[in-house]
Amino acid sequence: VALADYGSGNTRSVAGALWRIGAEVDLVPSPDHLPTAAKALVLPGVGAFRSCVHKLRLSGWSAYLQGDRATAEGFPVAVLGICVGFQVLARQGTEGGAVPGLGIIEGDVDSFGGSVPAKHVGWDETRFTAPFLGFTDGDLVDFYYDHAYAYPRSTVGCAAISGVGNEICVAAQVDRVWGVQFHPERSGDAGLAVLSGFLRESYG
C-alpha cells in the first residue's frame, strides 16, 4: 500500500498501523514516485486545511487525485483519506477563511455549528448509515477523533455519522475514494478493521 508522504501527516503512526495488519508500506512523496503495482493509496493529513491543500498542490497529489476516477482503468488506485486527508477532498474548507479543496466529495468542511465543546476529541460512538469497508448500516463503533471542523451530515456519499446530535459526517465514499474523519491508526482494533477493509477493497 502506498502512503502519501507530502509533509503533512502523522505518517509514522499510520505506517505503524498498516504494518500491524501485515501490509507492505511504501512512503511516496509524489505521484511520480507511485509504484506501478500500487492499488491502494492512503492519504493522511493533520493540521490546517489550507496548509494540507497547499502541500498537496506542490507535491502533485492534488492534480493526480482530481483525475478520471470513474473507472478502475482510468483510476487504478483506491484512495483512503484520513482526518484532514479526508477533509481536503471537499469542495471547500472554512478553516482560516474559505479555501477550495480538491472537489472530490460533494460537501463543505466547516466548524461545528455552535455546539460546545468546539473540539471533538477522544473516543466517540460512530453510527454507520451505509455499507463502508466491511461495516454495514446500523453498526455502532467507537473510534478516536481529534478535530474542530467536519463535513455536514448531508454530504453526498456519507456512510457514518458521529458527534453531538450525530450532526457530522465522519465517513464517506465517492467512486473508489473513501475517507474517514476519525483516526483508524489510533482507534484500536476498530481502526485496524477499517484499514483491513480498505486493503480488501483495493486488492480483493
Binding site: N10, W19, G47, V121, G122, F135, Y144, R186, G188, A193
Partner: protein, 276 residues
C-alpha cells in the same frame, strides 16, 4: 459527546547498565523521589493489553539535548506498540526537537516550563504541525488552596499566582495554539490522595473550548470516577497509580462503568476482522 479518557502517564529516564545507556520507567513522589518501575516497552505492552484510551510518555529531565536521537528511537518503538494516541513530552526546548519527535511517531508533543517562558514556541509548533499535535502542560504547586481570596499557586517558571492568574496563563496557552492543556498538580503527584477537584474544575472552566487532561493524586479507581463526575469532558492521567503492579486500567474502567459514566466500548462486531 466523546467518551471519558483514562490516560496512563509514563515517566522515563536514562540509566546506565553495565556501561550501556537504557531507558527505564520510573515513578515519582512530588517530582523528587524516584522509584524504578521497569522497561518502558514492556510497561506499554502491558497497558496496551488493557484498553487504554491514550498514552502520555514524559522524559524525566530538563533537556533532551544529546539524548534526542535515542529518545526518538524509543518513541518510534512505543508508537509501533500502541493503538491509541501517543503524547510525548518533557525536555523539549525547540520546534526542531518537537518536529523530530512527531516524525518518530508521536501523535502529540507536550511542553511545560518551556512554553511558560516562551509561548511563541507553542505557536511555532502548532503552526507547523497543527494545534491538535500540541499539548501544553501547566504544572503547579499549591501554596494556599482555593478559598475566598482565590488561593495561591507556584508555577514552573517561579511565578506565584492566584486562581484568576492561573486562568490567564491557561487562556494564553490556548491562544498560542495549544490543542489540549495538561493541568498537573505537582504536590499531589504520587500522593494517592485524589485530585484537587476544586482547582481542576475552576481551571478547566477558564478554557471551556479546549479539552484538558488533569493529573496529580489518583490513588484509587474511585478517584478517576470522582474526577469524571465533576469534569466529564476532561481526560484523567496518572503515573504512579498505573506503575503499581496490582492496579490496572481494567480496574479503573470497571469503576467508571459502575458509576454510570460514558466509557469507550471495546470493538466487537461479528464477522469483522481487525487483521487481514
Amino acid at each position: 459527546m466523546a467518551r471519558v479518557r483514562v490516560i496512563p502517564k509514563l515517566l522515563i529516564r536514562s540509566a546506565s547498565f553495565g556501561g550501556a545507556d537504557r531507558w527505564i520507567a520510573i515513578r515519582t513522589t512530588g517530582f523528587e523521589k524516584q522509584t524504578n518501575v521497569g522497561d518502558p516497552l514492556s510497561q506499554v505492552r502491558i497497558l496496551e493489553a488493557q484498553d487504554c484510551d491514550e498514552y502520555m510518555v514524559l522524559f524525566a529531565g530538563r533537556h533532551l539535548g544529546r539524548d534526542l536521537d535515542r529518545w526518538c528511537q524509543l518513541v518510534a518503538e512505543l508508537s509501533d506498540i500502541v493503538s491509541s494516541p501517543l503524547t510525548v513530552g518533557g525536555g523539549i526546548s525547540s520546534a526542531d526537537e518537537a518536529r523530530r519527535i512527531l516524525a518518530s511517531g508521536a501523535d502529540r508533543v507536550c511542553l511545560g516550563r518551556q512554553v511558560l517562558e516562551d509561548g511563541s514556541l507553542l505557536g511555532r509548533i502548532a503552526d507547523e504541525a497543527g494545534s491538535q499535535a500540541v499539548v501544553a502542560s501547566l504544572d503547579f504547586q499549591t501554596i494556599e488552596d482555593v478559598n475566598e481570596s482565590g488561593g495561591l499557586f507556584l508555577l514552573r517558571d517561579g511565578r506565584e499566582t492566584d486562581l484568576a492568574g492561573l486562568g490567564k496563563v491557561l487562556v494564553s496557552l490556548e491562544r498560542f495554539g495549544a490543542g489540549q492543556i495538561h493541568i498537573h498538580d505537582m504536590d499531589r503527584d504520587g500522593s494517592g490522595m485524589g485530585l484537587n477537584l476544586a482547582v481542576m474544575e475552576a481551571a478547566s472552566g477558564f478554557i471551556p473550548r479546549t479539552p484538558t487532561i488533569v493529573s496529580g493524586g489518583c490513588g484509587s479507581a474511585v478517584h478517576f470516577a470522582d474526577a469524571f463526575m465533576r469534569l466529564p469532558s476532561a481526560g484523567v492521567a496518572a503515573s504512579t497509580y498505573f506503575a503499581k503492579r496490582n492496579q490496572s486500567p481494567l480496574e479503573v474502567r470497571a469503576q467508571i462503568a459502575n458509576a454510570g459514566l460514558d466509557l469507550r466500548r471495546p470493538f466487537a462486531l461479528p464477522g469483522i476482522r481487525a487483521g487481514r
